[in-house]
Point group: C2
Chain length 414, copies 2
Amino acid sequence: MSVLRRGTNLPRMGDFNQSVILEAIRRSGEGLSRIELVDATGLSAQTVTNITRRLLGDGLIEEAGRTIKGPGKPRTTLRLIPRSRLSIGVHLDPAVTTVVLLDLSGAVIARSVRRTPATDPMHVIHSMADAIEALLSRAGVDRQTIAGVGVAAPGPLDADRGTVIDPPKLHEWHRVPLRDALADATGLRVALEKDTTAAAFAEVWTGDVPPDASLLFVYLGTGVGAALVLDGEVIRGRSRNVGEVGHIIVDTDGPQCGCGRRGCVEVVCTPQAIVEQAERAGVLELGRSGDDAESVDGRLTALCRLAESGDSGALAVLARAAEHLSVLISALTNMLDVDRVVLGGPFWGRLAPVYLRELPDLLDRQSATREVRALPVAGSVVGDDVGAIGAGCVILADVLSPRASSLLLEGGAS
Amino acid sequence: MSVLRRGTNLPRMGDFNQSVILEAIRRSGEGLSRIELVDATGLSAQTVTNITRRLLGDGLIEEAGRTIKGPGKPRTTLRLIPRSRLSIGVHLDPAVTTVVLLDLSGAVIARSVRRTPATDPMHVIHSMADAIEALLSRAGVDRQTIAGVGVAAPGPLDADRGTVIDPPKLHEWHRVPLRDALADATGLRVALEKDTTAAAFAEVWTGDVPPDASLLFVYLGTGVGAALVLDGEVIRGRSRNVGEVGHIIVDTDGPQCGCGRRGCVEVVCTPQAIVEQAERAGVLELGRSGDDAESVDGRLTALCRLAESGDSGALAVLARAAEHLSVLISALTNMLDVDRVVLGGPFWGRLAPVYLRELPDLLDRQSATREVRALPVAGSVVGDDVGAIGAGCVILADVLSPRASSLLLEGGAS
């Protein structure tokens, strides 16, 4: 007999409803009364009372004064205790390693940024552990409140083994057991996630998208990646490798790619590809420096500054880059029929002025559903630390976020 | 305050578990005992007893004898009553309109195929209603058992209005209110679905994929479309238009497309594009007939027969077509990280021999996760009526299939 769907039961339902209530309180900011929670979640007054009693007992929420609204009796506001649970987010990027300490609301309590050592992977992992310890002692938090460490790394990953397979620009990293090595070095629980997927968690957890949004997240890092959120749930994929879009063709006249074809995202849309286009167009001086992460970063900054100052050559290069990116985005949004596109990642801030001007029209023209509805495009509000913050949110989401799929009983082979 | 996630409650949980049990019984074929249902679903014996009592009372299942397994007392087998609920599936294709009558197990009780009249849309819809009535009276079924009519049509659709926007090769069809017009003409409840999405429902409902499969369905019809199943749930998209992949670039040297670019799926991978490539290569005689649906169909059949007989030119054209299709499939599977690819649709049967030989290697070479896992490729087992059968399954699934998302309470604005 084949594997069958599992049912659900009362304890599962209770866990789910508890996380629904906690998320409603978390998202409200200044807090909600029990009556407001009944309205917001559709749950009965009795269920809300029982669950909030449990959350108060666990120290995750607190009563924060009474308010009088209308003729009824005063309502007690229930508010998150942000410091009751913390998480650590780490973003391993070829250039820099960012570590953040988040509270339960997703707010950054402390952060540190260090150059990623160009040494062997184990040394990098120990340096990461040092950065975490330094941050914890600087912030002076109780280690018992740390729910875990999320690490965002470039994909593809082997999620089962917790290994990073072949991250670009980190040449010695082949099948490095990042998850277990960092857990050993810190004594903390570690979860490994793709940087792009982590960014989508940050967007859902701390961004201003509705909790049931379906969105395509386009991540502009050393590589260009994507992440997918459907009905508020981040889709990780069967092997946790959603979003490998580097070889989607976006320019039939584009340069040769290592894969054997021409015009792939990887050789057209990445920061390195864009600065090379600027060099070929004579907008940037040719061959001034190498193609390491730091140099590409500096040259892209120079290009974006030129565009900002009105340089028509720089503007043309970036407008063309936006057009190529629109081909990728349209391919994915027409396939996936999401309701919005959000762009982010370490290079987004610099590219945003030109991209946000160009993309909406480009995407509208290529939309298969333009007769039915619009496709809003926005930049992430999370900022350049989106990878690290997202990695921390993976831990918070795991603890607290309601996922309809978590309602199903485990197991299933029979 | 923003829209919040909804909780779940006991009646919702009961409905979900009932559909889990019904699906377990349906999928088992010859039936299951209560003990086997407990094992298969993870639900308690008491829950299984209560729910099966209700299903027996509703006439959806029956007790079908006792079996003795091991030393315990004999177990009563519970079996689906397939004729207790029926559905009608209609596939509107530019060439032919197929109507099927399905029982609750997804088996075809009766079918009819008629040429789609090349007349105005309202005439086509009335002809569709006539075909449904003829089928019902021929099959001699009780109209009360019909749960509804599912209509599969080429996208994009306006799901809210139940209209077909601009189906290819059906030139007079612009914003035709297919759903409501057919409901008026038949007096039955009608659901409208994209043909590609309907095909995915057929695969999940009647195919032999595991109930929690994540798969990309590639639909080879007049156009090439795709559908997505994640963790056993067919993903319809926010406007129910998932799978519009016609303008993903697959051949940088391909012909000009109406969209302004070159080498899109629409001008490379469709049956019409393939027969045109065969004509340019001198494998098929040039310009023997028009580009209407019927002529393309005949010429593709001729090309596939040539390949079957060992004609090297025909084989080369089809191998190249498989390679182009692999570029599309890889773009989508690398983005979506599904665990299998299933191909189907009206042209699949003819293309299968060459495509199933070529695709596995092509996809493996292009897989971003090939170091982590394999990506099985298979043909749909549903056959050429997949669109119509799928449309009928949309109705059955709506009535009976467990969807975790259905656990959430409705509403949500507050």
